[in-house]
């Protein structure tokens, strides 16, 4: 690849690309990500669409929170089982609405750890209406920030809703 064709002006995501330079030598240049510069809006639109459609199903009790977060994190059953230490057959069971209500708190704690969320978020979806009008990537422009802070108690989290001062 010629050096002149490799430069992408996109500061938020930089990467190193090896190119043929003007003088014919091969070497690295620092440039921006082509796909993020040109297609990031499409990525966010798809993620929002997936999240919203799953949330609708969750609200109608058609799917379980385990299934919801499994898709959001792009895990399959085996990977989720390995990450939580919960046997695969039980991971499958926990994705069925009828069986989820029998899940043990200890298992839910393991799921929450793998999904990098507080346990309480398996039972609630925090939605800030004004924020939804802004792109998910555009944190600076979101008027409200939701901050969740862990406590020493593994089952308790402090959720603070603040105005964005950035």
């Amino acid at each position: 690849m010629k050096e002149k064709d490799a430069y992408i002006d996109y500061e938020p995501q930089q990467l190193i690309m090896y190119v043929e330079k003007e003088d014919g030598t091969f070497g690295p240049i620092q440039t921006g990500s082509y796909i993020s510069k040109n297609y990031l809006d499409d990525f966010w639109a798809k993620m929002m669409s997936l999240r919203n459609s799953l949330l609708e199903k969750l609200k109608k009790n058609e799917i379980t929170p385990v299934y919801f977060y499994k898709l959001i994190h792009d895990f399959n059953d085996v990977e989720l089982s390995r990450r939580t230490g919960i046997p695969t057959y039980r991971v499958k069971k926990h994705q069925k609405v009828k069986s989820f209500r029998k899940a043990k708190l200890a298992d839910l704690h393991k799921y929450a750890y793998a999904f990098d969320i507080p346990v309480s978020n398996l039972f609630q979806a925090i939605v800030v209406e004004d924020n939804e009008k802004k792109a998910e990537s555009d944190e600076l422009k979101q008027p409200i920030i939701v901050k969740q802070t862990r406590t020493d108690n593994p089952f308790v989290v402090i959720t603070k809703i603040e105005s964005n001062k950035k």
Binding site: I16, Y18, T25, F26, Y34, R82
Partner: protein, 337 residues
């Protein structure tokens, strides 16, 4: 504290970049392409049946960690490596190494590297960073994919080092104990190139090497049946671009990086034919880059019917043909060294 003499640089690939930075810190001048080439890291594999993957994927480099292992086997560089069962022990040991001014490379789940933009963060237990300091509850890390030194909270680093799942890091870390005064490049380069040729056109399963590229072109036609909806298919097709360009390849699915290795090898060995092969590899990389552009475009436009997927498959098959011819020529060149 921070190890002041450690020099942070971005690199094309996290594993070769981390290794490069640590070797340079130890006083061995070596380039990232040379590490990549000597580690015989160029590869192709189409993984459709790996139980841990939620969707088929292709890989363009050897298994994570293998570059270091090959370099260790082929040179006199001495590594100190360790995995841990206890998270506390891993953290304490890391702290004590940093206190001794030893930069430490750690294998981590990329998802927890919260200094990179949110859209980049995916669960992948194949990322390498170098820990070069600690201040309060934060570690200072050198990440090849980030322009400057970054900070990560100790809890996040702990999660990243002990994430479960496929290729779980299990707290793996390494540092370099000693480096030789010089490396016998003239001896090692042909060995490393032959290894790569074997990876690509040697006797391999049908999903590996050039045959793997053809398998990818063929199996791609069945992707619509594996996806939930058009958005999901679009997402997976656009990931072709990400795998080829953005996920630490140096562009063109590592082909530009390998071309640079061949150029450097030709200079060391004073071999004009190797330089010609370097130029050909650059052109092959351009072909892969065209594939990545095309995949991004049809994914965004949701032009994902059989015709477009066949067109994409044909482009991938062209790469297989070019690469097969390339490695056959390269085999002839190397056998004459």
């Amino acid at each position: 504290m921070i190890i002041e003499s450690f020099k942070h640089n971005m690199a094309a690939h996290c594993e070769s970049g981390t290794l490069n930075a640590l070797l340079n810190y130890k006083g061995l001048e070596i380039t990232e392409p040379m590490i990549f080439g000597l580690g015989s890291a160029l590869y192709f594999g189409y993984l459709s049946r790996t139980p841990n993957l939620s969707f088929p994927m292709f890989i363009l480099r050897t298994k994570p960690g293998k570059i270091r292992k090959k370099i260790e086997k082929r040179t006199d560089i001495k590594f100190n490596t360790k995995q841990f069962k206890s998270q506390d022990e891993a953290e304490q040991e890391l702290d004590s190494l940093i206190a001794k001014n030893i930069p430490v490379a750690c294998k981590v789940d990329f998802y927890y590297m919260d200094y990179v933009p949110q859209w980049e963060r995916v669960h992948a237990n194949i990322h390498f960073i170098t820990v070069v300091g600690k201040e309060g509850d934060e570690y200072i890390v050198s990440d090849s994919y980030y322009p400057k030194l970054a900070r990560i909270h100790k809890d996040n680093l702990r999660k990243a080092r002990f994430a479960g799942g496929y290729l779980a890091p299990k707290g793996f870390r390494y540092y370099i104990e000693s480096v030789p005064e010089a490396i016998d490049y003239k001896k090692l380069i042909p060995i490393a190139i032959k290894n790569t040729i074997n990876n690509m056109i040697g006797v391999q399963p049908p999903f590996i090497g050039v045959r793997g590229i053809r398998t990818f072109a063929k199996k791609l036609q069945g992707w619509p049946k594996l996806t939930r909806d058009i958005d999901h298919l679009s997402h997976e097709v656009m990931k072709i671009n990400v795998f080829l360009e953005d996920q630490g390849t140096g562009g063109g699915g590592f082909r530009f990086l390998y071309a640079t290795f061949l150029r450097q090898a030709s200079e060391i060995l004073e071999n004009k034919q190797l330089d010609d092969m370097a130029k050909k590899m650059m052109e092959i990389g351009d072909g892969w880059r065209n594939i990545s552009y095309f995949a991004a475009k049809i994914g965004k436009n949701r032009e994902l019917g059989p015709e477009k997927l066949q067109e994409l498959g044909s482009m991938i098959n062209e790469r297989a043909d070019s690469e097969e011819a390339f490695y056959k020529d390269l085999r002839t060149v190397v056998s004459n060294i």
